[in-house]
């Protein structure tokens, strides 16, 4: 049984703006999600990628029963989202994007209140508050005094404190500083080790690349890619630069190698797919320096947003990703 299954899941909204109702195409609804079919396997961390407005949150809201599908169907933990919403939400932890909390309550009272709806005890609360550095003194303060990052931490704790079978997290590291992002990724690793499933919506590409097993990319409400992160990256074209002492290696006809340029002992080419034929081809040359650009999810992501406004939106997301990733990029090791 898959943790999540959607079959042709679609959502249309009626035109809301008064002028839109009477303008051109007023009969046409706005299609927020179009025939999305995907499966999330138990025990995996699944990334759901797309810029703002691509349909990520709509999909999540359909999974939780906040929205009703216009077409298609979805099952979460084997249960139908339209008829078994209460049972589903009893086994799922959910972090909304830009979570709103009850400002007058203290952090501890809020966690007690939200946890009281579940039959499960909040067995992970202590681990989560420790990991995210939410001290008892912090939890004793009213939420209205919390910074954005602290609110996000509290949101993560409320979503995961009852050790849900499936966690659905919408932009979970938004507002967290790089140290807290790292702490959050450790929590995700622990959830994965415990066999829990995580469905993570994000536009922070380095985050998805760091934590996810598989990724789906959504564009204008349509699913445009669904793949293992490794497979997606392996297909990426990477730039290779090397310096050779003596005659350059013959790279013509080597599988995956294209656009070879040789100038004064400096060789530059594009490499795609398996690296071994390339390494075999240069084995006999006197290589003094070699740089292979790392395959990055960002490039794969941008490839799906190749045109115009889509590309601008995706670039915005990618730039956000760079800004948000901060010190996290230091984790990446050059090959």
């Amino acid at each position: 049984m898959n943790a999540i299954e959607t079959i042709g899941l679609s959502k249309d909204y009626p035109r809301g703006a008064a002028l839109g109702r009477f303008g051109p195409g007023w009969r046409d609804p706005i299609r927020a999600l179009a025939e999305v079919t995907l499966e999330v396997r138990p025990g995996e961390i699944f990334g759901f990628l797309g810029p703002n407005g691509a349909g990520k949150s709509t999909c999540i809201r359909l999974l939780l029963g906040f929205l009703h599908p216009s077409a298609g169907a979805a099952r979460v933990l084997g249960l139908d989202t339209e008829t078994d919403g209460v049972a589903i939400r009893g086994r799922v932890g959910y972090l909304p994007g830009g979570i709103a909390l009850y400002d007058a309550m203290t952090g501890a009272a809020l966690l007690d209140y939200l946890g009281a709806f579940y039959r499960r005890a909040p067995v992970l609360r202590a681990r989560l508050t420790d990991g995210l550095e939410l001290a008892a003194a912090d939890l004793a303060r009213p939420v209205r005094e919390y910074s954005r990052g602290m609110r996000q931490k509290l949101g993560i704790v409320q979503a995961l404190q009852h050790d849900p079978e499936l966690a659905i997290l919408d932009e979970p590291s938004e507002g967290l500083d790089p140290l807290m992002q790292r702490a959050f990724y450790e929590i995700l690793d622990e959830l994965r080790a415990a066999g829990r499933t995580v469905f993570l919506s994000s536009h922070i590409l380095s985050e998805v690349e760091r934590v996810c097993d598989r990724v789906a990319i959504v564009r204008r409400g349509r699913l445009v890619a669904l793949e293992e992160i490794g497979a997606l990256l392996a297909r990426r074209r990477r730039t290779v630069e090397m310096r050779v002492d003596g005659p350059p290696p013959s790279l013509a006809g080597v599988p995956g190698v294209t656009d070879v340029v040789v100038v004064d002992g400096h060789v530059r080419c594009q490499l795609e797919g398996d690296i071994r034929p390339f390494l075999a081809a240069i084995a006999g040359s006197s290589v003094t320096d070699l740089t292979i650009e790392p395959a990055r999810l960002e490039d794969a992501f941008l490839e799906f947003y190749a045109n115009g406004a889509d590309r601008a939106a995706a670039n915005g997301a990618a730039n956000d990703a760079d800004a948000a990733a901060g010190g996290h990029d230091a984790d990446r090791t050059e090959p």
């Binding site: 909204y13 949150s57 709509t58 809201r61 939780l64 906040f66 929205l67 009703h68 919403g85 209460v86 049972a87 939400r89 009893g90 799922v92 959910y94 909304p96 994007g97 830009g98 979570i99 709103a100 909390l101 009850y102 007058a104 209140y113 939200l114 009281a116 709806f117 579940y118 409320q158």
Partner: protein, 270 residues
């Protein structure tokens, strides 16, 4: 109904409830005091001069006046001041419970728990009923305290007073049920609150003007306030039909709300 949600709602509203209860108890206290202290003099002035028509105006809604103890009790329940105070919970609470939480974004945090929208709805209705019942009881307590302290308690008929309280609770629960249905139908507070307030004010105006102006007297049955006549109840002329009408409207509003709320799409708050 959810005990967890009800407890949270009552706890969150306790200070507001205390403030409104003290306010309305004070109001309820003052009217028997005014009756006991100045009622006879005011009546002589009004009836003996050019102001006799004013008597009709003053007693137009629910028979409220300060010339009799029954009239002052009626006035304590139907005067715009007491209606405004009760409306904090009869209208304000239901609007805040769904449309308000929706607008703030906290509704999705609540609905992410294993609780159905119908249970949320019924719990909000139950909380509205409890708030209204407590506020009306405070009004009643103020009336009894005022009458007792100023030595007119022997004129009180407690059995009829309890019927007035029950009828008042039913009237404002009906308003609360309508407010909750409106709250479930909108994503934002302003349209839901605007519609319910306009409806309430129009209803009050129809009952008031219908009592004073014979040409529109026939409209009075369209007003909610027509089905709450405290002076008649205090006089022993309670009409069970009033309760039936209010209960019927409440049931229809609740049925609509329970139908519409689970069917609504709750998109991300904007």
């Amino acid at each position: 109904m959810s005990a967890v949600l009800l407890r949270h709602t009552l706890t969150a509203g306790r200070w507001r409830l205390l403030a409104v209860a003290v306010g309305i108890a004070t109001w309820g206290f003052l009217l028997p005091v005014v009756y006991a202290t100045f009622g006879a003099e005011i009546r002589r002035v009004v009836e003996g001069g050019y102001l006799s028509d004013l008597l009709d105006a003053l007693t137009a809604i629910g028979g409220g006046s300060v010339f009799t103890l029954d009239g002052s009790i009626a006035l304590s329940f139907v005067h715009p001041i007491s209606i405004a105070l009760v409306a904090v919970f009869a209208i304000g609470h239901p609007i805040a419970a769904l449309a308000g939480e929706r607008q703030r974004g906290t509704l999705e945090v609540l609905l992410a728990r294993p609780i159905s929208r119908r249970r949320v709805y019924v719990t909000a209705l139950a909380a509205t009923f409890l708030f209204v019942a407590v506020v009306m009881a405070a009004n009643l307590g103020g009336v009894v305290a005022g009458a007792t302290l100023f030595d007119v308690a022997d004129e009180l008929r407690m059995d009829r007073l309890l019927v007035v309280w029950a009828n008042a609770v039913l009237l404002f629960t009906t308003l609360g049920a309508l407010a909750l249905a409106a709250s479930a139908s909108f994503h934002r507070v302003v349209p839901a609150l605007g519609i319910v307030l306009a409806f309430t004010i129009a209803s009050y105006a129809v009952e008031l003007l219908g009592a004073l102006w014979p040409d529109i007297a026939g409209w009075r049955p369209w007003s909610f306030f027509h089905y709450f006549q405290p002076a008649e109840i205090m006089a022993g002329d309670a009409s069970p039909g009033d309760a039936v009408v209010l209960a019927g409207i409440t049931a229809a509003a609740v049925a609509f709300g329970l139908w519409i709320f689970p069917r609504r799409d709750l998109a991300a708050p904007s």
